[in-house]
């Protein structure tokens, strides 16, 4: 049976435990489960929140394309990608990737690949909301992100 990734773009928070359990429950062939959670990080006490704007429709489509590529490249038994949008305060979850496989290498690499590609290709943008009031700048893309993504080509 080919693996179909679960891809969700949502306002609400996700449950890391529940999503991990979904990829292992009732199975005997999963030997490795890697999960990555990206959280909103405060920049030296200046942020009240990051506001994540997204391109509805394309965000889901692009995450699905990236997830499909991961499934082609690694022998995964399951894959879940959840990305939130809206106003997210420091400490709260932004993104979840869970990769399951028979062996650890595929799970580690697929999760790493997913995050690198997602950062440079999934249509989401972060805007800062500041403690001192009002909105700050749009977060700028880092050259290092392109370099990270290029590791997989």
């Amino acid at each position: 049976m080919p693996v179909v990734a679960k891809v969700k773009v949502q306002l609400e928070d996700f449950d890391v435990q529940a999503e991990s359990h979904r990829l292992t429950s009732g199975r005997r062939d999963v030997g490795a489960l890697v999960s990555f959670t990206g959280l909103c990080r405060d920049e030296a006490g200046t942020l009240t929140a990051l506001e994540l704007e997204h391109y509805p429709g394309m965000a889901e489509a692009e995450l699905s394309r990236i997830a499909g590529e991961a499934i082609e490249r690694w022998p995964l038994t399951g894959l879940t990608v959840i990305h939130r949008y809206g106003k997210i305060p420091p400490g709260d979850n932004i993104v979840l990737v869970v990769a399951a496989s028979s062996h650890r290498r595929a799970a580690f690499e697929a999760a790493d690949f997913l995050m690198d590609y997602l950062k440079t290709r999934a249509p989401f943008w972060k805007k800062e909301h500041l403690v001192e009031g009002g909105t700050g700048a749009w977060v700028e893309a880092k050259a290092g992100d392109d370099k990270d993504a290029a590791r997989w080509t």
């Binding site: 391109y55 429709g57 692009e62 990305h83 999934a122 943008w125 893309a141």
Partner: protein
């Protein structure tokens, strides 16, 4: 054609979305950008840093030399910062 803008491109243009009648000489995404820049000062300002703008046609990433063909939607946005 339906045109959508996101993040600071949207803020500079001043609208999220607009419908544009494409002149016959607009064949590629680069032609479309040139056309949009001519609409008013807001569009011109949005596309000032042309190298910093990414494009999608019908929700798929493309380069600016891509032919528009029968695409129904074009979107313009800055480099992505999700994750």
């Amino acid at each position: 054609m339906n045109i959508r803008y996101f993040a600071w491109v949207r803020e500079r243009v001043g609208v999220e979305e607009e419908t544009i009648d494409l002149p016959g000489n607009v064949k590629t995404v680069a032609d479309l950008i040139t056309h949009l820049k001519g609409i008013d000062d807001y569009h011109a300002a949005a596309f000032e840093e042309e190298d910093a703008i990414r494009v999608a046609l019908d929700q798929v990433h493309v380069e600016t030399d891509e032919e528009i063909g029968d695409a129904r939607e074009a979107a313009f946005f800055p480099p992505m910062t999700g994750g």
